[in-house]
Amino acid sequence: MLKITNLTKTYGAKKAVDDLSLEIRAGEIYGFIGHNGAGKTTTIKACCGILPFESGEILVNGISVKKEPLKCKQQIAYIPDNPDIYDFMTGIKYLNFIADVYGVSKADRESRIKKYADLFELTGDLAQPINSYSHGMRQKLAVIASLTHEPKLMLLDEPFVGLDPKAAHILKGLMRELCNAGGAIFFSTHVLEVAEKLCDKIAIIKEGRLVIYGPTADVTANRSLENVFLELEEERDL
């Protein structure tokens, strides 16, 4: 579903992502872990076609992000680490805007918006302007918007930040549902317990390079993910 090959992205002289290769297959939830500034957000943004990159290739369902960004974006849903969405719109107008951009039919958008807004208990607030929303409500709206076009691949940057425990639980369920239906999810998180329980595979990135990746059980090798991560961080400090 998502194939990253030798991705390199630099900012000036600094290599934010250095020769990174990773493959996420259909049906997989892939966790992406690293310290602040390790290159997680840069990688995710490059996969979404937001950030141009110097070398390497990213394929979404076999389509190159570089060569055919629109075709790739049509299959992707991206949730940024900070839900900065259009403050001047109401919730429902924003959802309609996203549905129009992705070309979602009237019947599909009506049923999906109703389904997910009810699920996240946001229906009552959809007529409110987004600037009156709390951080959590914005995050919920971003999640609902990302699901309106039934993406095949979800790229999520810290999706649980700001969500209340119930909404976080619902999102985890939806992520699994999407993968069971043949989709894939690649998401970054600092909540290692969530990653350990939710992810089929995990990749740990350090200073732009992958240090370990594979099935969760292989990465943790009977230890906690927290211990694995901290050991790798200590190695970095030495």
Partner: protein, 541 residues
């Protein structure tokens, strides 16, 4: 602590003037590029200061020449005080609201061990600095003109400095009160932005009426200086005392000016500092609107982008006021010419010749004037900058950059077009233009409007600014807006001058057709850049 807060406010103000980058440029500007930018800003600042100083100076020179020999210097300064107070009030009222009552860092600062009165004082002082800048625009040229004309003693100059420094305190006090009232009124309304737009238009309307009739007022004042002065002195005692303190070097009146300005300032500060925490933490959510499920309407991605642009435009009063002022002028002009066509014709004939080489050139003048008004509608100039933190959301969507640009350009044209048609048709009827000339009264402004729309987009692609915390920075203080405003006028002037030159050999209609073609070509050329390099630039923003 207070000093730190004030320094932070001032550095934020300075920063908002000097900084402005997109992510690809953020760390690059140094050396020559940085120096070039500073030089450009310096040249621009000198130009603005010199032109403003000159026009204000000329205005006050007229008054000084008449009032000083009559020993009516107090009326001269009374008028200066009125101008400073009015300009300060109009200029700071919305700054007061956003800086004091609606500041985004209130929660952060209130969580720190800082007395709320210090936070409030630092905010008020930053508005005061803004007011001193506004006051200087009038006071400096007026002071120089008066003291070089009247040749009075040092005491007069000292009193002028002291009284002028006190004057903005009164304006800030009134602005704080009115800002608080606006906040109080708008909190109960669902469409706060509409109310803010209404207040803005109201203030702007007063300002425009005053400026449009300024010459009449000035003539009336000069003819009946003493009577008007006496009336104003009763209505505005602080302005009267200001005039007397400086013109007569009267200590009593100087003390009165200080009392009129400092005491209200202290009272307002004390009252606000008591209620600042409450004001700053009051939930401004307004009335909650219940969501009712309705049948949804579908549209294309392009329509969705255009609707989004419209939603942003209509939600920001400052955006409307700054980027679509031509619409207001065009509608005012349409109404005015339909009622007073003869008067306008007389005024125009006094200002410029209506005949050239035996030919009536009024239609050309009208079309050029309408074209010039269209230059003032440039919603595209800050449109990309206004994406701010939402830029990456836009970049993640399955739309081409050109679709995004097109939506912004279309909005600009759609906003400008109705008033172009209204004003063009009004002039057609009022001045009895021929059908062909009437058609050009619509076509030329429409061609200019299309040109300004793509030119603004072009400027914003070259000079985007995404680091703002308040939209006003992108709308008013960004380089792309300044480039479009002044560059647009300059680019408009060149073909207009060409048109006047062509009068020797071509008919008015032929010149208008050539001008339309020139603007259409310019539009196509710039659009081609946007379509090619513009799209590439967008991908790297």
């Amino acid at each position: 602590m207070l000093k730190q807060l004030i320094l932070i406010r001032l550095s934020a103000f300075w920063d908002s003037m000097m900084r402005g980058r997109n992510r690809s440029q953020a760390k690059k500007t140094s050396g020559m590029a940085g120096a070039g930018k500073k030089l450009l800003i310096a040249v621009f600042a000198v130009y603005i200061v010199a032109s403003l100083g000159f026009s204000v100076g000329m205005m006050f020179k007229q008054m000084a020449d008449q009032l000083v020999p009559m020993n009516l210097g107090w009326i001269y300064f009374l008028y200066l005080a009125v101008a400073v107070l009015l300009f300060n009030f109009v200029g700071s009222i919305f700054a007061v609201y956003s800086q004091i009552y609606d500041a985004k860092d209130n929660d952060l600062l209130l969580s720190m061990p800082i007395p709320p009165r210090y936070i409030l004082l630092s905010r008020i002082l930053s508005v005061l600095v803004l007011n001193y800048i506004y006051a200087a625009i009038f006071a400096l040229p007026a002071g120089i003109v008066y003291f070089t004309t009247a040749r009075v003693g040092v005491l007069h100059v000292a009193f002028f400095v002291i009284a002028t420094l006190a004057l903005p305190l009164l304006a800030v006090s009134v602005s704080c009160l009115v800002g608080w009232l606006i906040g109080l009124i708008t909190i109960h309304f669902k469409r706060k932005n509409l109310i803010s737009s209404f207040f803005m238009l109201l203030f702007f309307g007063f300002y425009m009426v005053f400026m449009m009739n300024f010459n009449t007022y000035l003539q009336r004042l000069l003819a009946n200086a003493e009577d008007i002065g006496r009336t104003l002195s009763r209505a505005l005692p602080p302005a009267y005392s200001y005039g007397m303190a400086i013109a007569q070097a009267d200590v009593m009146h100087l003390l009165l000016v200080l009392a009129f300005c400092v005491i209200p300032f202290l009272i307002v500060y004390l009252v606000l500092s008591k209620s600042f925490v409450k004001v700053a933490t009051t939930k401004k959510g307004g009335v909650k609107v219940a969501y009712v499920e309705k049948e949804m309407k579908t549209g294309t991605a392009q329509t969705a982008l255009l609707k989004k642009e419209w939603a942003r435009f209509s939600s920001l009063p400052a955006y409307i006021m700054n980027s679509a002022l031509g619409v207001l002028f065009e509608i005012l002009l349409a109404g005015y010419v339909l009622i007073n066509a003869d008067k306008v014709l007389l005024m125009v004939s006094q200002a410029i010749p209506l005949n050239y080489d035996g030919r009536d050139i009024l239609p050309l003048g009208i079309c050029l004037l309408l074209g010039l008004l269209s230059v003032m509608n440039f919603t595209t100039a800050p449109a990309l900058s206004l994406e701010g933190k939402n830029l990456q959301l836009l970049q993640s969507l399955p739309v081409r950059p050109i679709d995004i640009f097109n939506a912004k350009i279309k909005l600009n044209i759609y906003v400008g077009l109705p008033s172009i048609v209204i004003s063009g048709v009004a002039c057609w009827i009022a001045f009895g233009l021929t059908p062909v000339q009437g058609l050009f009264a619509v076509l030329l402004p429409a061609a200019v409007q299309s040109f300004i729309a793509v030119f603004g987009m072009f400027a914003n692609i070259l000079l985007p600014r995404f680091d703002w915390r308040n939209e006003t920075v992108a709308i008013k203080q960004s380089a792309s807006v300044l480039l479009t405003m002044f560059g647009g006028v300059a680019v408009f002037a060149a073909p207009a001058v060409l048109g006047l030159w062509l009068l020797k050999m071509l008919s008015v209609e032929a010149i208008l057709a050539i001008l339309c073609a020139v603007f259409a070509l310019l539009t196509a050329g710039i659009y081609q850049f946007i379509r090619t390099k513009g799209q590439d630039k967008f991908r790297y923003m």
